[in-house]
């Protein structure tokens, strides 16, 4: 029976190739845009290499100081000393790493200039993140205590810096800003869309120019706090906040008098949105406005289009319904036929969308548009959008058919 329905559905599709094309175009386009969008969002905020433990990591990115009237505000990253005193001491955490946000620098090889980003970190950085070492190993507490001039570089930087990039480079020197560092490890790089772990060259924080010696609270360091389990994030957060509460208020930071001090430790998504959600009502309105507009565009328009077309086309099926009813088909059987037909076309559209998305993602990943891009198809989103398409298809294709099949046979046959 099902095979028969599918055969009929196929014939119906072929009867008006143009309308079939419009329907498929609408379904597959909507699904493709939706999947690309979510795949990109997932790339930005999901737990991926090398931040695979994002679901149990808290990010401490900025210290915000305000006067009592909340008139003037100062927001900055923190000093190494501040984070050592207040974040490193959190006992509920499994590990805490302190590192600097990446910074631009240059290296010169012969007549070539290489633009690169550098990060200074402690040894725990390599335990909190999950970098894959292609060669060598990370620097450890011993290297840091000795103040060794060592560096971990990415495979991409290795390819650019060393003439013969097939040979291992452990123990060789890289010269950055006129200082020689010994390469101790080579890792697979992290894309720039993960700004916490992205860099081309990683140095221990005791290397020159890291400014870890800064006293005071502000500096160029940030921290990631790894909890033992996602359920313990709350406990870690509250312990960190109780540490922060010990700082005497009001205080003075480099001439700036503050009465209110805020240091947030948030999961990645919330930290990511903080800049928008705390950026004043204007920015928040724009953010919601843009999201609403995009949703209206991407989902609403094709849905209206699909419903419109389906409702318009159902009339041409009336004589078919009439004939089948005249030969004794019950309403239930007729409904099944239309349902199968709708599911069939939605799945074809979904299939096309899947192939299209796969091709586009491959193009984005290999184009070098974002270095180390690792976009993947999110099947959960795919399933949800298929269901949404089905709902619209059924609403617009099956409901009118149901109404029509309840007509008396004579009326249906006449039109």
């Amino acid at each position: 029976m099902l095979a028969n329905y599918i055969k009929i559905a196929w014939k119906v599709l072929l009867r008006h190739p143009f309308y079939t094309f419009i329907t498929l175009f609408g379904i597959s386009l909507t699904l493709t845009v939706l999947m690309l969008l979510t795949s990109f969002l997932d790339h930005l905020i999901g737990a991926h290499y090398p931040e695979t433990k994002r679901n149990r990591t808290l990010y401490i990115e900025r210290i915000v100081m305000q006067d009592s009237a909340r008139q003037s505000m100062m927001s900055n990253s923190m000093s190494f000393k501040f984070l050592t005193d207040y974040a490193k001491t959190v006992k509920a955490a499994e590990r805490v790493t302190i590192f600097s946000y990446f910074n631009g620098s240059n290296a010169y090889v012969g007549s070539r200039k290489i633009k690169l980003n550098i990060t200074f970190s402690d040894a725990d950085f390599w335990r909190v993140s999950d970098f894959k070492f292609i060669e060598g190993k990370p620097y450890n507490e011993q290297n840091i205590a000795n103040g060794d001039y060592v560096a971990v570089i990415t495979d991409d930087f290795k390819k650019h810096y060393f003439a013969n990039s097939d040979e291992p480079v452990i123990g060789k020197n890289v010269e950055i800003e006129s200082i020689n560092y010994k390469v101790i490890g080579v890792v697979k790089g992290s894309p720039i869309t993960r700004p916490f772990t992205h860099a081309d060259v990683y140095f221990p924080y005791t290397a020159p120019k890291s400014n870890y010696q800064n006293s005071g609270m502000v500096g160029n360091f940030i921290a990631m706090v790894l909890a033992k389990d996602p359920s313990e994030l709350k406990a870690v957060q509250s312990e960190f906040q109780s540490n922060i509460a010990k700082i005497p208020l009001p205080g003075n930071q480099g001439g700036f008098k503050y009465n209110i001090l805020e240091v947030r430790s948030d999961p990645y998504l919330i930290n990511f949105l903080t800049a928008i959600l705390h950026g004043g009502p204007g920015l928040r309105n724009i953010f919601y406005g843009v999201i609403g507009f995009v949703m209206l565009m991407v989902m609403g328009l094709p849905a209206i289009n699909l419903v419109n077309l389906n409702v318009g086309r159902i009339l041409e099926r009336s004589s078919e319904i009439g004939v089948r009813k005249a030969f004794g088909a019950p309403v239930k059987t007729l409904m099944w036929q239309f349902i199968v037909e709708n599911i069939f076309i939605t799945f074809i559209g979904g299939g096309i969308a899947l192939i299209l998305t796969y091709i586009l993602i491959q193009i984005i990943n290999t184009s070098g548009w974002i270095a180390y891009a690792d976009l993947t198809i999110n099947f959960k989103v795919f399933l949800v959008s298929i269901v949404v398409c089905l709902v619209f298809g059924l609403l617009s294709g099956v409901l009118p058919a149901l109404r029509m099949s309840k007509l008396s046979i004579i009326d249906a046959l006449k039109s």
Binding site: N106, Y108, R112, M297, V298, L301, N305, L309
Partner: protein, 389 residues
């Protein structure tokens, strides 16, 4: 005729409701897209106001070194200037042209207060990146002995603060009302975040000789200067100032980065919108094809009564135009809120052009979609059409 068309549409308002919603939504999408494009195009056609080819920006950071910063910066400045490859060099704050950082302050003149972008720079900046002056002159380092800090403002700032008067020689006050700056010259444009930036009010302040914070060097090199010289430059600096960081950025690269930040979202938006509109156009074509084909009897009758092919086509086009007018009016109610409430800080003129463009495109699309099915249907011979009924 038009009244008749309205009546025809009104009688079938339920069937047309979905069509109206579809055109309405397309209108809003087009309005958004047109606003975005016109906003950027209008910014782009205004002149940049300075030269960036063969200009490098070098940021210096003294890190843990706190001894004799000012002397070291001066030595580095002289060292850089000494090279034959260097045409001109200027010292300024971190917000060099095309940089990601910016700085702004409230500036007052009499009762007018406005937020103005501030750049701190020495006397060489106008020469190094070639900013032409339209009034007065660029300040000299020697001017720092006066009571007020000499500044150069752009024409936009002059218009905001002084309306029709000339700014040269006037005294400006800061947020607290304290007289702080004296205007020594006026420049035309300075769009320091590249071509797609809106022309904003700007102020250049003379860099104080004892300043140890602002130490970015903007260097204009001779054409063809390469990385070998750059490496030599960096080496020289690290021998003058041990432990300092240097980062050299080519302004052409920084400009590209600024362009990418503007253009990539616009491009993605444009691609998605065009696919959506193709989708809508195809759907509209399909629906009109169906609904017009269903009215063959009516067409036959009109043809039999002496209506020409053209008149029949005109009727269907007229119907869809009336429908689109309904939708566009509904869309306009929403669209005019943007300039009225000033939602995105975009000039009202931009919204006006965007509304006109979106309306035009909507009418072109519906005309194209309706023209083929209606001209096809109008060719039916009345005898055949009437016979079928």
């Amino acid at each position: 005729m038009i009244r008749h068309l309205f009546k025809l549409i009104w009688n079938k308002k339920q069937t047309h409701a979905l069509l109206i919603i579809e055109i309405w939504a397309s209108f809003l999408v087009l309005f958004g897209l047109a606003t975005l494009i016109f906003y950027n195009v209008r910014n782009y056609i205004q002149p940049l106001g300075f030269e960036y080819e063969n200009v490098w920006a070098m940021s210096l950071n003294n890190n843990q070194d706190t001894i004799a910063i000012q002397e070291k910066v001066e030595t580095i400045f002289a060292h850089v200037k000494g090279f034959p490859e260097v045409q001109s060099v200027s010292r300024m704050s971190d917000s060099y042209p095309f940089s990601q950082s910016n700085n702004s302050r409230t500036v007052k003149y009499n009762n007018v207060a406005t937020q103005i972008g501030v750049v701190v720079a020495d006397e060489n900046l106008s020469k190094t990146i070639d900013i032409p002056l339209i009034k007065g002159k660029w300040y000299r380092n020697a001017d720092s002995i006066g009571k007020y800090i000499p500044v150069v403002i752009n024409r936009k700032a002059e218009a905001l603060l002084f309306e029709n008067q000339s700014a040269v020689g006037k005294i400006l006050s800061d947020y607290d009302g304290k007289a702080t700056w004296i205007v020594s010259g006026v420049i035309d444009h300075y769009k320091d975040k590249a071509e797609f930036m809106e022309n904003k009010p700007f102020l250049f302040e003379l860099l104080k000789s004892k300043d140890i914070w602002n130490k970015t060097l903007v260097i204009h090199v001779k054409p063809g200067t390469d990385a070998i010289f750059e490496a030599k430059l960096v080496k020289g600096i690290s021998s003058i100032a041990k432990g300092w960081s240097t980062d050299i950025v080519y302004l052409t690269d920084a400009r590209q980065k600024q362009h990418d930040m503007t253009l990539i979202p616009v491009l993605i938006f444009l691609i998605v919108c065009s696919f959506l509109l193709i989708n809508v156009a195809l759907g509209l074509f399909g629906i009109l094809n169906l609904s017009i084909a269903r009215r063959r009897g009516e067409i036959g009758l009109r043809r039999a009564m002496g209506a020409t092919e053209k008149m029949v086509t005109a009727q269907f086009l007229g119907e869809i135009w009336v429908l689109s007018t309904f939708s566009v009016i509904l869309g306009l109610i929403l669209a005019v809120q943007f300039p009225l409430l000033n939602v995105f800080d975009v000039a009202a003129g931009i919204y006006g052009i965007a509304i006109v463009t979106a309306t035009l495109i909507i009418f072109v699309i519906v005309t194209l979609c309706a023209w083929y099915p209606s001209s096809q249907a109008s060719r039916i011979h009345p005898a055949i059409a009437l016979h079928e009924d």
